[in-house]
């Protein structure tokens, strides 16, 4: 090889090297793409909700890209997401967040599924000052740590069932009620419990049973037998899908009569489908329902979103998907207002977010939680064997009247 050829090879390799380092250091925006990163549970125990989350993200990316993308400094960009499977494992999620940031050069993150995993990732994004918009971590403790780069489009967990206690008190003529409650021992459910404790204090209600359900449990017969013995005005259960399904199964089998039953995770558990009529009158907390009248220009209304989602993925969207789609709308809005790809500028724009999406109004409180959207309650109602969820609170969005008290089992056919 002569000298000139050697020089040429060196020159070419130098240029290639420079190009490689150039593209990786600007990996946050590659050509016309804004690259977002997300660790998500595609396998393991959260895999079904992980997939709902991913579908929600993908649906919004497609829609935003199709409708012109994101305009920053007069140029149109499209969204692209790098996904990694965190195997429903918090340690793995934290590792993957590091990898997304350090190796893939991602500068903007979307949240994983569940409070536990969000808690694992948040310290990492905070360390590298990466803005993260998350849609599936509702635990109150996420918003009390003073995180500056974490933004959640959903209402915090302690608000889930507070409304239910207010409703019970209202039905009791404004007087305090007797509450029996059973909560799983995980971050999310314990936060729901704190909300109930606050509500009880505020309304002068009394908590007469306060059981904690272990994670492995699928039998709550003892709790329910106690409920039968002490006759509370309202029974509150929160233990993810397992808690909801176990509760309805055993309440119906043990013929436990309570005037009001409030739960979480009814739609994720497909309660009305799996238990049919037995689940009738159960009151369920939800972040979103397709019948709400919020609107935006990307998805139109909730009903339209549900229709499009059904067409694309073949099932009715659970709220996990809707809130995930909303996270992308928030990012788009923030990029355009920041008119820059500077992380801190985007972060500052996120702080000032105030918008309406099909999922609800979004405005972030000082801790990063969404303070503009109330939780809703729906009640399972059946016609024959056909059961559906109808919104009963808050009254502004209610499509149906709240049925109270629940008829006794002896009177139910």
């Amino acid at each position: 090889m002569n000298k000139i050829a050697k020089l040429f090879v060196t020159f070419i390799s130098a240029i290639t090297l420079a190009l490689v380092s150039f593209t990786s250091s600007f990996a946050k925006v590659e050509g016309e793409y804004i690259v977002l990163g997300s660790a998500i549970s595609l396998t393991g125990k959260y895999s079904s909700n992980g997939v709902h989350t991913q579908n929600g993200y993908n649906m919004a990316v497609d829609r935003i890209n199709k409708m012109g993308g994101v305009e920053v400094q007069g140029k149109k960009y499209k969204f692209e997401i790098i996904y990694y499977d965190d195997e429903s494992n918090p340690k793995r999620a934290a590792q993957l967040a590091e990898r997304l940031i350090k190796q893939d050069g991602v500068h903007y993150m979307l949240g994983p599924y569940s409070s536990g995993l969000t808690k694992a990732i948040a310290p990492v994004t905070e360390k590298y000052k990466i803005p993260m918009v998350e849609a599936n971590g509702a635990s109150r403790s996420l918003f009390t740590k003073g995180y500056k780069y974490l933004f959640a489009v959903l209402s915090p967990a302690n608000q889930y069932l507070e409304v239910a206690i207010d409703l019970a008190v209202e039905k009791n003529g404004g007087k305090g009620v007797k509450i029996a409650q059973a909560f799983e021992q995980d971050a999310f459910s314990q936060d729901v419990r704190l909300g109930i404790l606050d509500a009880a204090k505020r309304t002068g209600s009394e908590i007469i049973i306060d059981d904690k359900l272990p994670k492995e449990l699928n039998d709550m017969a003892a709790t329910l037998a106690k409920v039968k013995a002490v006759k509370p005005d309202v029974l509150v259960v929160s233990g993810h899908t397992k808690g909801a399904l176990t509760a309805i199964r055993q309440i119906s089998e043990m013929k436990v009569d309570v005037p009001m039953l409030a739960m979480t995770h009814c739609d994720a558990a497909k309660l009305s489908k799996q238990h049919g009529k037995k689940s009738e009158f159960a009151l369920c907390a939800s972040q979103w329902h397709k019948n709400l009248s919020y609107k935006d220009k990307f998805f139109g209304s909730g009903k339209k979103y549900a229709k499009d989602f059904q067409k694309e993925f073949g099932y009715d969207p659970p709220y996990q998907s809707a809130e995930s789609s909303a996270a992308l709308l928030v990012f788009k809005d923030a990029f355009e207002r920041a008119n820059s790809f500077d992380r801190d500028a985007v972060r500052d724009a996120l702080v000032d977010t105030e918008m309406q999406t099909f999922y609800g109004n979004i405005k972030f409180g000082p801790g990063g939680q969404n303070v503009a959207k109330p939780m809703i309650l729906f009640q399972v109602r059946c016609k024959g064997d056909d059961c559906e969820n109808r919104v009963v609170a808050p009254t502004k969005w209610a499509s149906d009247k709240f049925y109270h008290p629940i008829p006794k089992w002896s009177d139910r056919s």
Binding site: S88, K212, N218, A221, A229, T241, R249, E253
Partner: protein
């Protein structure tokens, strides 16, 4: 601590009945474990996951529109072959080895089963509906789901059938002979390889029955197998190997213990109490053994 149960005698009745019915189901799973532990000297960590797989089989036929109670016949047949295959693939390689190796191997099987079930059936919690209704006693103050009564009845039925089979049939005699002394059985013409495979298959079949019963009484999820393994391990530890009446009594005892722990200590300590009891029993056994000189090595 909650002493509500002592104030309301009906709760005591409720707790006892719930405990006994549940305990009988546990005893069936433990019986399978005792059988293959006794014959093959293998502690099967995947026991609970076999139970859950059996439950998913029943749930699948329920989705096809067949009443899930048929699961107690279909599920054990399928599970027998699953057990047989599992033996041929993995267990026969660890059967004469150190106990630790078999624990590791079955632990591996447990993880693979969990992931496979998650992959095939999804991570959602599911239930099958038996629509059996409820038996009400003492003016509706004690309620017994008929599905629980059904599951206890089926468990007893299968246990009795198995005992008779072990006594009367040729395979049963071969299994008992192998359990007593594998080498002697082999010399006398028993195909121990086949006996081992059949034993593991029978154990899996028992798990299949239990799983089908759990699908109509409790809930199914790919990752809830471990508590069933621990419970059956514990029942076997207390009852000893090859002692069926003791397994039954110890199963019901555990069911009662769990229910009462739930009422008195609180639901959060229910499974914890089982683990604690396990540790106490192991320590007690160790203590008793150390008193006997012949066990000292």
């Amino acid at each position: 601590m909650d002493f509500l149960i002592f104030k309301a005698p009906m709760l005591m009745v409720q707790a006892s009945l719930d405990g006994i019915l549940l305990g009988i189901l546990f005893a069936l799973i433990a019986y399978g474990m005792a059988l293959q532990w006794g014959v093959m000297n293998i502690i099967n960590i995947a026991q609970g996951d076999l139970v859950i797989l059996g439950g998913y089989i029943a749930y699948t036929i329920y989705l096809w529109g067949i009443h899930p109670a048929w699961g107690v016949i279909i599920s054990p047949i399928i599970m027998f072959f699953v057990g047989w295959a599992l033996y041929k693939l993995v267990i026969n390689k660890v059967v004469d080895r150190d106990l630790f190796i078999s624990i590791l191997a079955t632990f591996g099987i447990a993880i693979v089963f969990q992931q496979l079930m998650n992959f095939i059936f999804g991570a959602d919690v599911v239930v099958a509906q038996s629509e059996y209704g409820t038996t009400m006693l003492f003016d509706n103050s004690v309620t017994l789901p008929n599905s629980k009564i059904f599951s206890a009845f089926i468990s007893v039925l299968y246990a009795i059938a198995l005992v008779i089979y072990m006594r009367k049939s040729k395979l049963g005699r071969a299994i008992r002979a192998t359990a007593q002394n594998a080498r002697a059985a082999k010399i006398l013409g028993v195909d121990t390889e086949k006996v081992y495979a059949a034993t593991f298959g029978i154990n899996a079949a028992l798990c299949g029955i239990a799983g089908a019963l759990i699908s109509i009484t409790l809930t199914l999820h790919p990752y809830v197998g471990l508590p069933y393994t621990v419970r059956s391990f514990m029942i076997v530890i207390v009852a000893g190997l090859g002692n069926l009446p003791a397994v039954a009594v110890s199963g019901m005892g555990l069911g009662l213990f769990e229910e009462f722990a739930d009422y008195i200590l609180g639901t959060e300590f229910r499974i914890g109490a089982v683990f604690l009891l396990l540790v106490l029993i192991l320590v007690y056994r160790r203590f008793k053994l150390s008193k006997k000189r012949e066990y000292l090595k």
